[in-house]
Point group: C2
Chain length 324, copies 2
C-alpha cells in the first residue's frame, strides 16, 4: 500500500493525517498552532507526530510524500509568506524544513488550492478537468483547476477570488480595505454585517434578530433565525446569494468551468443561499454559458476535508514526477 | 523550411497568409466574408487561395498545418457556433471542411484566443507562461494563458472577459443586455456612449465634441479631440481606464499573470488610457499582487496580428502532437 501525509495548518489548529488513495484517513493527529513561538519549534513538534504516524502504517517506504495546506502558502517555493494569522513572521521555508526532518518529498500550497486538489482526487470533481472550488467560511477562499491543472499563476498566488471586486465603491473590507470585494459580503463576517445593515435600514420591521445587540450578531444567529422563517434573515441570504451569483458569472466567463463546488459554513443554509446564487449567476451569463455550469456542494466530510486536500497534493506530485 | 497557414475570419474580411516560425508573413490574401452565401462556398473560395499560396512556398510538404481564428470558434470541436456577425447560421464544422479541401491538419479557435497564442509565439509574451491578452476594439476580446497553456474551459468557450460585470446594475450592453459588463465601457462603442453621457451631464461645459451631433460621435472623434487637449474627451479616457483597471485587478486575482497585454484601437490614446488603467488596477489589488504585473502594449504589427495569431495555433498543435 501507498499512502500520503496531509497537513493542514490553520491559525488555531494544525491537523495532520495519513490518507490512502481512496481518501480514507487512517491516522489522525492535531496540535495547537499558536502554542509554538517559532516555526522551528512548530516543525519539530509536527514532525515528531508525523514520524510516529508513519511508523504505525508500516514506515517511510509506504509514504509517497507530504502535502501541506497553509495560509499564504506558495507552491513554487514551498514557503509561507507573511501569513497574517500566524505568529511566525516573514517568509518561512516550511516545505524544506518538514522535508529535512522526515526525509520525504514535501509540497505546500495555500489551503484553498489544496481543497481544490482534494475535490479532484477524492470529491465532487473526480474526473473533471475544469472546475472552481469556493470556500465560504470566515473568509472566501478559492482554487481554480483548468486543463486538469491547478492554476498557480506566475508567482504561485493565483486564485484569490474572494478579493475580486463585485460592488465597486461598495462595502470596504475590514482587513484589505478594498471596496466591494466578494469576501466583504459572502463570508461569515459579511453575512453578519449585512444583517446589521438591514436591521438598521428597516427600523420598523420585526425580526427575530432584534433579540441580539446589533454589534453581537453572528452569521450563526442569522442562520438560526432564517431556519425559523425570519424574513430579514432570509433576505440576508437572498442578497448574499445575489452577490455570490454575480461573482460566479464573472468566474464562468473567465475559465468556463464544468462545475463550481461550494464549501464552508454558509452553504448550510441550503436553498436559501443556492437558489439566489444560481438565479443571479444564470442571469448574468452570456447565452453560450447558460444552463451548463453545475453549482454543487462539496461532498468531502468537513472534518477531514483540509487533510484530504493537503494529502491530494502528494498524488499530484507523483504525477508530475512520472511525467519527467 | 516549415511554415504555418494562418486564417482570420472576420465579419467583413477574411485574411489569410503563410507564416514562418519567426512570425514573418510570406504570402498574403484577403477575401470578403459576407460575399459567400453558404459556408461551403466560402470554404471553396478560401481553399483555392490557400492551395495557391501553399504552392508558391514549395507545396504541402512544407506546411505544418492550418490555424483559424473565428468569432465563436470552438477549439475542441473545430466548429463556429452561432456567430452573431456571420451570415452562416448554426454550428459549422469549419476546421473539418478546410482540412478536407487542403489535406492539412487544421485547428480553430476564437480570434481573441488566437491573438494570445500569437503573442506567446511571436510577440510581447514570448517566454511567458502566465499572461492575459485583451483586445480593446469594436468589442473587448480576451485570451488567457496559464501554466503555458491557453485556457479553453470545459466547453472551449473560456476567456470572455469583455462580458464580466464590473458595474452591477450599470450600463446595459447593446447586444447581450447584461448590465455593466466591461465591454459596455471599454470598447469603441462604450467610449462613444460615455462621451455622449458626459456631454449630456455637463451641459454648461465647453468641448470640441460639441461640434458633432451627440448620436454621431464615434470613439475616433473622442480620440482626436483628446489629442487636441479637450477636457471632456480626456475625462472619457480617464473614466474608461478606471473601469478597465478595476477589471484588470479582478483578472489578476484570478490567474496572477506576469503581464496583461493590451491590443486594439483604444490603446492608441497611450498614457491617457494606460495611466488611469494602471492606477486603478494597483489600487484594487491585494498587497501580494501590487507592483508586479506588467501592463503592456502588444508589439505585433496590427495589420498582421490576426494572421499571426491564427498561424501560431499550428506550432501549438505540433507541440501537443509531440507530447503524445
Amino acid at each position: 500500500m501507498e499512502y500520503a501525509v496531509g497537513v493542514d495548518i490553520g491559525g488555531t489548529n494544525t491537523k495532520c493525517g495519513i490518507v490512502n488513495r481512496r481518501g480514507e484517513v487512517l491516522q489522525y493527529e492535531q496540535l495547537s498552532t499558536p502554542e509554538y513561538e517559532t516555526a522551528e519549534l512548530f516543525v519539530d513538534a509536527l514532525c515528531v507526530r508525523l514520524n510516529l504516524m508513519i511508523e504505525k502504517v508500516g514506515g517511510h517506504e509506504h509514504i509517497k510524500g507530504i502535502g501541506i495546506g497553509a495560509p499564504n502558502g506558495n507552491y513554487y517555493t514551498g514557503t509561507i509568506e507573511y501569513a497574517p494569522n500566524l505568529r511566525w513572521t516573514g517568509v518561512i521555508p516550511l516545505a524544506d524544513m518538514v522535508s529535512a526532518k522526515t526525509n520525504l518529498p514535501t509540497a505546500l500550497t495555500n489551503d484553498a488550492n489544496a481543497a481544490a486538489v482534494g475535490e479532484m482526487q477524492y470529491g465532487a470533481a473526480r474526473g473533471m478537468r475544469d472546475f472552481i472550488t469556493i470556500t465560504l467560511g470566515t473568509g472566501v477562499g478559492s482554487g481554480i483547476v483548468a486543463n486538469g491543472q491547478l492554476i498557480y499563476g506566475h508567482d504561485g498566488f493565483a486564485g484569490e477570488l474572494g478579493h475580486t471586486i463585485i460592488r465597486p465603491g461598495g462595502r470596504p473590507h475590514w482587513s484589505t480595505e478594498i471596496a466591494g470585494s466578494l469576501e466583504a459580503y459572502a463570508s461569515a463576517t459579511g453575512v453578519a454585517l449585512t444583517a446589521r445593515e438591514m436591521l438598521a435600514e428597516n427600523p420598523g420591521k420585526d425580526s427575530l434578530l432584534r433579540k441580539y445587540k446589533p454589534e453581537e450578531i453572528t452569521s450563526k444567529n442569522v442562520f438560526e433565525c432564517a431556519m425559523l422563517g425570519d424574513s430579514i434573515s432570509k433576505e440576508v441570504y437572498r442578497f448574499t446569494g445575489q452577490i455570490l451569483g454575480e461573482s460566479l458569472a464573472n468566474f464562468v466567463m473567465f475559465s468556463s468551468p464544468e462545475a463550481i463546488i461550494l464549501f464552508g459554513g454558509l452553504i448550510k443554509a441550503g436553498k436559501l443561499i443556492f437558489d439566489p446564487t444560481i438565479e443571479h449567476m444564470e442571469k448574468n451569463l452570456l447565452p453560450i454559458f447558460k444552463n451548463k455550469v453545475k453549482v454543487i456542494k462539496s461532498d468531502l466530510h468537513e472534518a477531514d476535508a483540509a487533510i484530504l486536500g493537503a494529502s491530494a497534493l502528494v498524488w499530484e506530485m507523483k504525477q508530475s514526477h512520472a511525467s519527467l
